[in-house]
């Protein structure tokens, strides 16, 4: 069953079309990797699905709830605030540069949304946060501030922060691009273990090896369109398009 349905999304910035007719589905428990050169619209796509940008047209449905769909003129019409908010809580986003709250320690970062948004009581939120931090091997860092942590540790805190809301789908926008190779491995390991737990994930990444080994589905994007989508074998080993082949050869 598709937990995320994306149909014909389009988006322009100042007349420049950055997303053209993008459609794909993500089923529960699936890992989707989105690859492609810089400027191909991968991040914009993620930002549209996470309501950080407004799409011009198309349709996004998360767990049966419609975020927006086309009116008869082909323009995206967004659902009302309440639904958008519910959708927001169903999906989480992990940023390339973490975006942790610098004035809060690790624990405060993780419990902020559960306490402030879900109105969870603080003790319960902390208990859950401790579990998540343990999973991220950060149990000793509860009281540390983001500035005291390495990039890899900060990224793991931000993953814990996103998981604290128990999202149905977790999105990653180039989660390792700001990290050196050693720390990259650290994050990929976390992603892999989340995949093993059947967490539904959509990952924009430049880590081809990772995409090949962990993803159930791969999308290759270029110049705002999906050039190819399929299983890792289909996209990596038997690419139909020349453009895909050329891109993958570089790695």
């Amino acid at each position: 069953m598709a937990i995320l349905e994306v149909k014909n999304i389009s988006k322009s910035f100042d007349g420049l079309e950055v997303l053209k007719d993008i459609s794909f589905d993500v089923n529960k428990g699936e890992v989707l990797a989105i690859i492609g050169p810089s400027g191909s619209g991968k991040s914009t796509l993620l930002r549209c699905i996470n309501q950080l940008e407004r799409a011009d047209g198309g349709c996004v449905v998360v767990d049966g709830m419609t975020m927006f769909q086309n009116d008869e003129n082909g323009y995206a019409v967004y659902s009302d605030k309440k639904i958008l908010r519910d959708i927001r809580l169903k999906i989480g986003l992990v940023f390339q540069n973490f975006n942790l709250f610098p004035h809060m320690n690790v624990m405060q970062n993780v419990i902020e949304a559960p306490v402030q948004v879900l109105k969870m009581n603080k003790a319960d939120a902390e208990e859950k946060a401790r579990e998540l931090l343990k999973k991220m091997s950060l149990e000793t860092k509860e009281k540390s501030y983001p500035c005291e942590l390495s990039g890899g540790q900060q990224q793991r805190v931000s993953i814990a922060r996103a998981l604290a809301l128990s999202p149905d789908v977790l999105f990653f926008d180039e989660p390792t691009s700001a990290l050196d190779p050693e720390l990259t491995g650290e994050i990929l390991k976390v992603l892999k273990s989340l995949a093993e737990e059947k967490m539904t994930m959509v990952i924009v990444t430049h880590e081809m090896e990772f995409a090949k080994n962990v993803a159930d589905k791969v999308i290759f994007m270029d110049e705002g369109v999906i050039v190819e989508q399929g299983t890792p074998e289909e996209v990596f080993d038997n690419s139909k398009s020349e453009r895909t082949k050329k891109f993958i050869q570089k790695f």
Partner: protein
């Protein structure tokens, strides 16, 4: 001046420390929240509001505070005798009792607050605009409302960033309070001038100077303590 005379003058000036501090404190209490509101208006996406706010800031920062104090103090009595006043303005003017013993203090505080709010607004705006967009986006993705994002995520970081510039402004305010004597608001400098004439000596002014220095030292200590306290993160 003899030692006893110096002591007497110090005691007299100490009494007028009250009006100085009262003006200082009242200005802070009103100008900081007002400054935050002005900063918000200036950042308003509806351009006419942003422009009007810019004009307000330009006038407040572009004309002497002394002039503003005089203008506000004398404007109300002047408007009261003007018969062609629009009704809504007349209603406002009628509320103000210029014969009240507090009128002078209120006029001075209004002038100071309007003036300092303009300066604080620019400091606040700079601080708010310096917060990376990613902070707003992270909060939005976590489902936080705009109000919660501002008060829990943005404002605490803004406070840290604007502390040095604000402490500058607040220290200037301590000394600017002496401008109020232009409309005969009796504070330390005014009293010191009277004592200077009484004793034909510069010493009273020197003592007043020491008072300001002491206040500045205290404020500097408070601000460096606050800065240290907020230094727990980068």
């Amino acid at each position: 001046m003899s030692q006893k005379e110096i002591l007497d003058v110090t005691k007299i000036l100490l009494e007028y420390l009250g009006p100085t501090l009262k003006l200082f404190a009242a200005t802070l209490v009103f100008s900081i929240p007002l400054g935050l509101i002005v900063a918000m208006l200036k950042m308003c996406k509806f351009k006419p509001i942003s422009w009007l706010t810019s004009i307000y800031i330009l006038i407040m920062r572009g004309t002497p505070l002394m002039l503003q104090i005089i203008a506000i103090y004398y404007a109300i009595p002047y408007l009261k005798i003007n018969e062609n006043l629009p009704v809504f303005l007349k209603k406002i003017v009628d509320v103000v009792d210029i014969k009240s013993p507090n009128y002078m203090f209120i006029a001075v505080v209004v002038a100071f607050s309007l003036n300092y709010a303009a300066y604080f607004a620019e400091i606040f705006r700079g601080g708010i605009e310096a917060i990376p967009k990613g902070q707003y986006e992270a909060a939005a993705c976590l489902g936080m409302t705009k109000t919660k994002t501002f008060f829990r995520i943005i404002l605490p970081q803004v406070v840290k960033r604007i502390l040095p510039a604000s402490s500058n402004e607040i220290i200037i305010l301590v000394k600017d309070t002496s401008l109020a004597n232009i409309i005969a608001y009796t504070e330390i400098i005014m009293k010191a001038k009277q004592q200077m004439q009484l004793y034909s000596s510069l010493t009273p002014l020197f003592i007043a100077g020491v008072f300001y220095l002491a206040m500045t030292i205290i404020l500097t200590a408070i601000f460096s303590m606050l800065e240290k306290k907020l230094n727990y993160y980068k």
